[in-house]
């Protein structure tokens, strides 16, 4: 069997920490090989070794059977290894073509020959089915197209082996479908692909073989067709993982959050939430399903006081909050896990203790006549980190230095600790691995069982189906229907999300 890449017994240490402990990865020509592992398992380290960014302490790398020493990324490029980074390495004000030729510009009469470059790009674009506009500015194109630019960039440099680092993390579902097609085209044209991911579904769909690593150790390499999501998940996490979240029957009581005839405008001044009414009762989880851009973010911003309510009433614990400021609403009993944890959830350059008191710093015991009591703040941080198992490099580490899963745990710790009567969770598991997802779902249900109201907004159907007690499907700013997750299917939800109302049948009562 011919391997294009062999990484044999690779060992990489950072100080006392072993990031890669004798991992072996063998890539066949023309295959899509998935590298699966939890956040922090050592996937990126291994790929950075292959790409020449790190030097391994032990082990060897062979390309097409020949032993090589990849001392820097240029060597990797020359060997035909190209990397499509998770965070794109593009110059936003440059055009697509300028970005692709950057560092390898064709020169004619001392001038950059952009015309021949564009011609070559068009050829590449056609032969691999990668739709790009060479003259568009990168700052003006969609994330999906930026990724295609990154792919063409590697092909332009003559890559035979492409590494995709978490390629679907930033894409919409439609773009993911396109990407999978592109990857298949690439393999048909004789390229070989390594895809780093922790999304099991995509692995099952796209890969030929999969190598699982856990805590820096290579666990197993499997043929995708001979395995299933459950096996992969337990190999990755190291224990059985249940995809179906266990929960008892909900026992809703009085209405905690009531929204009546709410209208909210978006940034362009158009109505994004139209005559929206919904209630969430104590002791239940209401899921809001829908395709991104149907008014979900405007709805949440209105509920949390960040966006002006055009008309309508929002009641939390019996008080009208539609005209109140965020702090007042928080004090009345709203907790919020925002969808963008870096932008809205945390101050990344603050140490963790200061992040834990972001809404409570002005209250006793943290604040005494204008002076902050850091002893109390640190105590609170320690308590929350222990209770919610937030793992940090050190107690006062910056929020920036935590992994995504731990950042999200910290936000949940902070919000739940304030004991809010209604918890709004917006895309709470975006970008997290199965272990962390399981944990966060468990915490949401725990809130429900403690008699709190939970409003879950998610674009992931599986999550909505698993966690919610009722599902409100949002379409063009309004609720098209409210369904019972036990009596509906993903297909039916999909139709509702696309705006197709179902035939009336025995659905759960609401109001």
């Amino acid at each position: 069997m011919e391997y294009v890449i062999e990484m044999l017994n690779i060992r990489k240490e950072f100080g006392n920490f072993v990031a890669n402990d004798n991992i072996t990865l063998q890539l066949k020509k023309g295959e899509i090989h998935a590298l699966l592992g939890e956040n922090g398992a050592g996937k990126s380290t291994l790929m950075n070794v292959l790409f020449g960014l790190y030097q391994p302490e032990a082990g060897e790398i062979r390309v097409k059977g020949k032993k090589v020493n990849i001392s820097n990324p240029n060597v990797a490029n020359d060997l035909g290894i190209g990397m499509v980074h998770q965070h794109f390495m593009l110059v936003p004000p440059f055009t697509v073509a300028e970005n692709i030729i950057l560092g390898k510009e064709p020169i004619k009469n001392t001038m950059v020959d952009i015309k021949s470059a564009i011609k070559k790009l068009k050829e590449l674009s056609v032969s691999y089915g990668l739709d790009i506009d060479p003259n568009a500015k990168v700052s003006n194109i969609s994330v999906g197209m930026q990724q295609r630019v990154e792919i063409i960039k590697t092909l332009y440099r003559g890559a035979e082996i492409l590494i995709f680092d978490e390629p679907t993390a930033v894409l919409t579902p439609q773009e993911i479908v396109e990407l999978i097609q592109i990857m298949k085209n690439l393999v048909n044209e004789g390229k070989s692909i390594i895809i780093i991911t922790h999304k099991l579904k995509e692995i099952m769909e796209v890969s030929d073989r999969v190598t699982v690593i856990r805590k820096g150790k290579g666990i197993k390499t499997l043929v995708t067709a001979e395995t299933n999501e459950n096996e992969l998940a337990s190999l990755m996490v190291g224990r059985e993982v249940s995809f179906k979240t266990d929960k008892i029957q909900s026992n809703p009581t009085e209405e905690t959050l009531t929204i009546k005839n709410l209208n909210v405008k978006d940034n362009r001044g158009l109505l994004a939430v139209k005559n929206f009414s919904l209630s969430v009762r104590a002791g239940e989880i209401v899921g809001i399903a829908g395709i991104d851009g149907n008014g979900q973010s405007e709805l949440i911003e209105a509920l949390t006081g960040l966006r002006k309510v055009d008309s309508g009433v929002i009641t939390i614990n019996g008080r009208d909050t539609s005209k109140l400021k965020p702090r007042k609403i928080t004090e009345i009993g709203l907790g919020h896990i925002p969808s963008d944890r870096h932008k809205h959830g945390l101050v990344l350059d603050f140490p963790m203790p200061e992040n834990y008191v972001l809404q409570t710093y002005y209250k006793k015991p943290f604040n005494r006549s204008g002076i902050l009591n850091f002893a109390e703040i640190n105590k609170k941080a320690k308590q929350l980190a222990e209770e919610f198992d937030v793992r940090t490099p050190s107690e006062k580490a910056l929020a920036r230095s935590l992994s995504g899963g731990n950042q999200q745990k910290a936000i949940i710790a902070r919000e739940v600790d304030r004991n809010p009567s209604i918890l709004i969770a917006s895309q709470p598991t975006r970008g997290l691995d199965v272990g962390a997802i399981e944990y966060i779902h468990h915490r949401l249900i725990e809130q429900r069982d403690k008699g709190k109201a939970v409003l879950l907004v998610s674009f992931e159907l599986e999550e909505i189906m698993n966690v919610s007690d009722r599902i409100a499907v949002m379409y063009e700013g309004n609720i098209i229907d409210i369904v019972d997750p036990k009596m509906t299917t993903e297909q039916e939800l999909g139709l509702l999300m696309a705006g197709k109302k179902l035939e009336p049948k025995g659905e759960s009562a609401h109001e």
Binding site: T304, L306, K325, P326, R327, K328, T330, H336, P338, K343, H344, G345, L346, V347, L348, D349, F350, E354, L358, Q359, Y361, Y362, N367, G370, I371, L372, F374
Partner: protein, 351 residues
């Protein structure tokens, strides 16, 4: 290498490298580098007059550095420190030349307060424009510098000038003066005044506001991430304006040091003093911390004053002196490369 050791070693190596390269340039230009540096140090330390005058130079730099640093720490770039400094100077002298008969315990603090308020008010407009209309503060504060220069010149000429065609105000009353006869006696009649104490107290206040107070927590939070701060219920606009006000107040007090201490009067200026702009450099080199700004100001002020001595004692021309000083600052500013250099040296040594 542990990080505390490194954070001490990096600036020291930077300064030494700066001196080294500066010396090479002096030699290449045909001057005696040793003599040059000797006269630089003599220009600071050789007698009590030089030491006193060095501190006079350092005092306003500490405050203007704190002003820039405060804005930096709260997410703003206040290039308007120069203008706020000039307004503070004028305000302090105005109060200092009025209200005759007040006791010193009232008059002096009142004059300093007037400077703080003047500086703060001059920063208010950029703050409001930034907070409510998202107009970038850099543009507005630069413009405000010119307005400050010419408006205060008009004010000094028309309302404060001593008469007889002078461009200078009266001297401030003794009750509003920062000078002290003892200082003058100890330092061979230098202009050394109490301002250095004011500046060090300001550095303490700076540290306390930012690191210990509730207000400072909010300001820093808004500075780092105003989205998350808004989510957490903070009033972003209010905090932006407050940050500009406090920054402007530090700048204004810097002006009071000149108006009540060094010069004891206000005069029509032909151009900017540079104190506000040097504050940008001291804030940067001091990494926007209170202690860092104080140390950086000592370095800057010392070099600036001591270098005046170089042309006399070593014939190194003033222009070359400016180059040498710039080199030293350059090496401190490029501490990243020095960090990398040290890492390389030490990892090799370890192997």
């Amino acid at each position: 290498m542990n990080s505390t050791l490194k954070s001490i070693l990096v600036p020291i190596v930077a300064i030494l490298l700066g001196f080294l390269v500066g010396g090479i340039i002096m030699i290449l230009c045909g001057y005696d580098a040793i003599l040059g540096y000797q006269s630089l140090f003599n220009g600071i330390f050789s007698n009590s007059y030089f030491m006193g005058e060095s501190i006079v130079k350092i005092t306003p730099l500490i405050l203007s550095g704190l002003a820039v640093a405060f804005a930096f720490r709260t997410g703003l770039f206040n290039i308007g420190v120069e203008g706020q400094f000039i307004v503070g100077w004028t305000a302090a002298v105005y109060v200092g030349t009025h209200f005759e008969g007040l006791s010193k315990v009232v008059h002096l603090p009142l004059a300093i307060l007037a400077a703080a308020v003047g500086g703060a008010l001059w920063a208010l407009l950029p703050g409001i424009l930034k907070a409510y209309l998202r107009v970038h503060e850099v543009v507005v504060t630069i413009m405000m510098n010119y307005i400050a220069l010419h408006v205060t010149n008009w004010f000094i000429q028309e309302k404060m000038a001593a008469g007889g065609g002078t461009n200078t105000s009266e001297r401030v009353f003794q009750t509003a003066s920062l000078s002290w006869k003892q200082f003058s006696d100890w330092t061979a009649f230098s202009r050394l005044h109490w301002g250095i104490l004011v500046a060090l107290i300001a550095a303490l206040i700076y540290w306390f506001i930012l690191e210990k107070s509730k207000v400072g927590y909010e300001l820093r939070s808004v500075g780092f991430n105003h989205h998350a701060s808004q989510y957490a219920g903070m009033n972003v606009s209010k905090n932006i304006i407050l940050a500009m006000l406090i920054s402007g107040a530090f700048a204004g007090v810097a002006g009071a040091m000149e108006g009540l201490g060094t010069f004891q009067y206000a005069a029509v200026k032909g151009g900017f003093t540079g104190v506000g702009f040097t504050g940008i450099a001291t804030a940067f080199i001091g990494a926007n911390t209170a202690l860092g700004v104080v140390l950086a100001s000592f370095l800057f002020g010392g070099l600036q004053f001591g270098s005046l001595n170089m042309p006399y004692n070593s014939q190194v021309p003033t222009e070359l002196v400016a180059v040498v000083i710039a080199l030293i600052i350059y090496f401190i500013a490029s501490n990243y490369s020095i960090r990398t250099l040290l890492d390389k040296i030490f990892t090799k040594g370890a192997k």
